[in-house]
Amino acid sequence: MSAPVIETRGLSKSFGAHKVLDGVHLGVARGESLVVIGGSGTGKSVLLRTILGLESADAGEVLLDGEAASPAVRARFMRDFGMLFQNAALFDSLPVWRNVAFRLLRVMPARQARARAVERLARVGLGPEVADRMPADLSGGMRKRVGLARAIAADPSVIFFDEPTTGLDPQRAAAINLLIRGIVTEAGATAITITHDMTSVRTIADRVALLDQGRVRWQGSVAQMDEAFDPMLRAFVRGEPLDWGPLAGQGRQG
């Protein structure tokens, strides 16, 4: 069996006294779609950032294509990589099409890169009239979709999606979920997605991992998730309200 494309071994990360990751062991096989779920502030985004080297780990290691993630290994990994950031992270100073074609402009003429950008925008439901607009002129949902178009513009073999459907209406969210699933199934891409949206989980995931207090509390397939006995996972999947103590529910009293 080949080595996982991405593997973390005992990954730990603290910000001051707050331990965000506490020995995370995870692996993602080639062509697999892993969805990481968990409550807000459980370290999901930090996990992605640490894998990418945007945050340095306090302990543990990251392996990319079976090799320890040195700067050179990461640089090689990034060449065939795309990422959708939680808030899109579009470059304010560039028009939409240059954002989408950012990587393409290095390997093809501007006219061809623009055509590819317009085609990618169409895949996320945005028309060619958006191409020349500046990111500041777009709504939050449109920015998100431009960010997605940028992530998939160069057909990368590994893609990270940080909350891909947050801020989208249900129909567009469903279309984006299908698009991500299609990228994994048809193009054979490896994906890690972070989401709170259980519809996204069911559409996108081959495997699900629940992060809690900086550790992987549970992982398995979507079918296993529905039958799992873990109370926290069951509560999360069913969207049961958190118990915040004696003040909880006061707002409901007449």
Binding site: L52, L54, M78, G82, N87, F102
Partner: protein
């Protein structure tokens, strides 16, 4: 004989001085490495350099020109008023010219650019930091140093001497304006007196100072922008720190360069 245990609450000046010195040296080292990386980072783009030359150089021209004009004019009035005490009012053109090209042109031009450009660079890069745009550059296999810092550093180093040269000329013209309209100089006499005492090194030293000040301005803006804290407050602090550091840096560098050039 036994020694009393050190009191952890009593201030230890030697230790405190040592800690402060080490922190200062670490800071200087970090900024020096940052500057070296910024000057030589891969991924040079002529388009980005041209964009920054326009923003840092061309768009600073009005503020630097106006500053030089009023400074040259005020300097002419001051030298005339001071010189008359010992019947030396006719040295106004020479002193205005030498004062502008050696000192006031580069320093005031540099400070004006610091106010305009260091703040703008720190705010722009700081906003990119807090909105994850710099992280996005990394995921797109682009070195943020090469994309953001290198063009700004080189654009400032190349364009501020040009601004200083233009400012020198406008400052001398400010003195000429006062000299010919208020102090009784003929135009020809004023200009002849200006050039007669001006040496090539006066001009070149001022331009070299301009290059150094440009580097300081861009470095301060980029450093504080890249290290901005979270949120709007973080960007605000980065902007303030960049302007303060660039201004103090220019005045300190001016003292050192003047010592090197003229002693």
């Amino acid at each position: 004989m036994t020694r009393a245990a050190p009191n952890p609450f009593r201030p230890d000046p030697v230790r405190a001085t040592g800690r402060a010195t080490l922190a200062l040296l670490r800071g200087i080292g970090a900024v020096a490495i940052f500057a070296a990386r910024g000057l030589a980072a891969p991924g040079f783009s002529p388009r980005l350099l041209a964009e920054q030359l326009l923003r840092i150089g061309w768009l600073s021209l009005p503020v630097v020109g106006l500053t030089a004009l009023f400074t040259g004019a005020a300097l002419a009035l001051q030298i005339n008023a001071g010189g008359e005490r010992f019947q030396a009012g006719d040295v106004v053109p020479a002193i205005v010219a030498i004062g502008m090209v050696r000192e006031l042109g580069p320093v005031l031009g540099g400070l004006m650019v610091a106010a305009r450009v260091a703040s703008s660079i720190a705010a722009e890069i700081g906003s990119m930091r807090v909105t994850e745009q710099i992280d996005a550059l990394v995921t797109l296999s682009t070195d943020p140093m090469g994309w953001l810092v290198t063009p700004r550093l080189w654009a400032a180093i190349l364009s501020v001497p040009v601004l200083v040269g233009v400012g020198d000329t406008i400052g001398i013209m400010g003195g000429w304006l006062i000299g010919t309209t208020t102090l009784g100089f003929t135009s020809q006499a004023y200009l002849a007196n200006s050039w007669a005492y001006l040496e090539t090194w006066d001009v070149v030293s001022g331009l070299l100072k301009g290059a150094a000040f440009g580097g300081i301005v861009a470095l301060a803006g980029c450093w504080f922008g890249m290290n901005a804290g979270r949120g709007a407050a973080g960007v605000g602090r980065a902007t303030t720190n960049a302007v303060v550091a660039a201004s103090v840096g220019i005045l300190a560098a001016n003292f050192i360069l003047t010592g090197l050039f003229f002693t």
